[in-house]
């Protein structure tokens, strides 16, 4: 039973981190990218390939993983978001990010193959069980990421600019904020964080090309449950979803995970559309 709880929280950490990544991109662009989950997938596969196949040292693999995340973050802003944000039809970004996400996923499946492959150990550890790092890495990292982001928003100039843009991007631009560059930066940051979450969660999820869509969906549910724009919400939402998934898998079998998850989402959005910690203005998505 303890194992069920621990694995649920670990999953929750992963989902929470994905929700945080959504938040970072949303703050500067008001876009919820379909490709959010793909950062983790790319980061995870990149690391697995470099470390296991090419025998790079782990720290090098981590750096490469983060770089790959940054690159894809930057690319997704340039390709899928920048031109759309300027266009009059707001909902095109749903399609453009969906398209890019599909392309990335398919490209990975063609290059890497469709079998999930194991992920290297990050810290030397011989034993498994509830203290297995595959559970604790995502959990700890999720909390660190949330705390780090909050400090970033409150203390750093760039972070404060992100917040300003999320509240009123027109006003921000009028005050001289280089909104394009800020947006690009936020996507790069999102990519790095996403890849990092893939690195942390890799031992739990394996390096799998299909991870992106599943994680994007779960991360979104965590985001919606917690409320867009809230780091605490992201963690809480992730934890709730993670626990629910783990308990469902334990009692009803793994096939019903998605059904329960989407049921939770629909229920919550009907009852409290802004999520647990979100503000009501969220509905103007």
């Amino acid at each position: 039973m303890l194992l069920v709880i621990v694995s649920g929280l670990a999953l929750g950490g992963l989902y929470g981190m994905t929700a945080l990544v959504y938040n970072v991109m949303y703050s500067t662009s008001k876009v919820l990218s379909f490709g959010t989950g793909q950062f983790a997938m790319v980061g995870g596969i990149c690391t697995a390939w470099l470390v296991l196949d090419l025998h790079w040292p782990l720290w090098a693999g981590l750096i490469a993983c983060l770089v790959s995340g940054a690159a894809f973050g930057w690319l997704s802003e340039v390709i899928a978001v920048r031109r759309i944000v300027a266009a009059s039809d707001e909902h095109l970004w749903v399609l453009s990010t969906l398209a890019l996400s599909t392309m990335v996923q398919e490209a990975m499946s063609l290059v890497w193959g469709t079998d999930p492959t194991p992920f290297p150990r990050v810290l030397p550890q011989e034993f498994a069980g509830i203290f297995d790092q595959k559970f604790w890495l995502p959990m700890i990292l999720a909390v660190l990421m949330a705390v780090g982001l909050e400090q970033f928003y409150r203390r750093s100039m760039v972070g404060k600019l992100f917040i300003a843009m999320s509240e009123d991007s027109f006003a921000a631009r009028a005050r001289g904020v280089a909104t394009d560059r800020m947006r690009s930066l936020s996507y790069v940051l999102a990519g790095v964080l996403g890849a990092l979450s893939g690195f942390a969660g890799g031992q739990l999820t394996f390096a799998d090309f299909a991870l992106g869509t599943a994680l994007g969906l779960s991360g979104f549910i965590a985001l919606a449950v917690g409320g867009i724009g809230s780091s605490v919400g992201a963690l809480v939402g992730g934890a709730i979803l993670g626990m629910l998934t783990s308990l469902t898998a334990h009692y009803f079998g793994a096939e019903y995970q998605k059904t329960i998850a989407i049921g939770l989402l629909i229920l919550l959005l009907v009852v409290r559309p802004q999520g647990l910690f979100g503000t009501t203005q969220v509905r103007q998505v």
Partner: protein, 334 residues
Amino acid sequence: MTHTRIKPVVVGLFALLAVALPWMTGNVYYLHVATLIGVYWVLIATLNLLVGFTGQLSVGHVGLLAIGAYAFCLLAGGQGWNPFLALLAGGAICAVIGLLLGLPSLRLPGFYFAMATLAFGLIVSELALAEQWLTNGSVGMPAPSFPAPFDTPGGFYWLVLGIAGLVTWMTANLARLMWGRAMVALRDSTVAASSVAVPIYRTKLIVFVFSGFTAGIAGGLYATSQTYITPDAFIVNLGIYFFVAIIIGGRGVIIGPFIGAAVLAAIPELVGPLAKYGTFFYGLILLIVVLVLPGGFGELIATLAAKLRREPQSATSIEPDLPSLRNAVRGQKA
């Protein structure tokens, strides 16, 4: 709705060619592809109402296709129902499921709705594999065929053609009468729509349920055309493909999505060894169309047609005609 008013002559010619196809080619394979286009067209025609007209980005319609297919196979095959009845029943089941899915999710903003439908598609494919007692899991099940004269490739083609024609006719009617304008208003400007009293939520729901019904019917036809269905056939990517077909063809145009359906059905069959790159290329095409041609090819055609008609670009000076305005306004006061 002026977008592209197709001359009846063109429609007639096309219909004639379509009907004559089985006699023009003896090749069963081409007939099969044409049948598949028809089947996809049944689904895409009404999905186009949902996506192209009311602007609801439903990514998971493949789930309804799957449910329709399995329902048809179970009822007509296992339970021995009359295939036509089973087809209608499949449609009805999907209409109800569409209602249940749409009721909560159509209240949500665009991205949430898209996610919800995506999740629905994933759930259906997950359950199709898991619920072995119902679906035989990954083994799949055979699809029954229709009674004569629809049990031959040519005969079945005509059945699909007939249904596709009927659905097309219905969507064309909806598009050109007042409901069509209401739907477009809903897509382009909810403020305008509510200011003229269009019931926004109710309209979205009706369209969603209608598209669910035809998706269910398309599912049954799809099953028969493939003769055997497995969960593999209904992966989420197919849902994205339908979507792409509509976007490529162009929003709000009847013929555009047909082009999309034709491309969708024909390419995998004709491209063979490159088929595994299919999804990648669909993503690429979608991306390019969204970035360059948001209105899709249908809009491109309409714009070209407008340029060709060479409308005089004179600045309009507005000269009201007060007496006729008086009459026109007064005419209402019955």
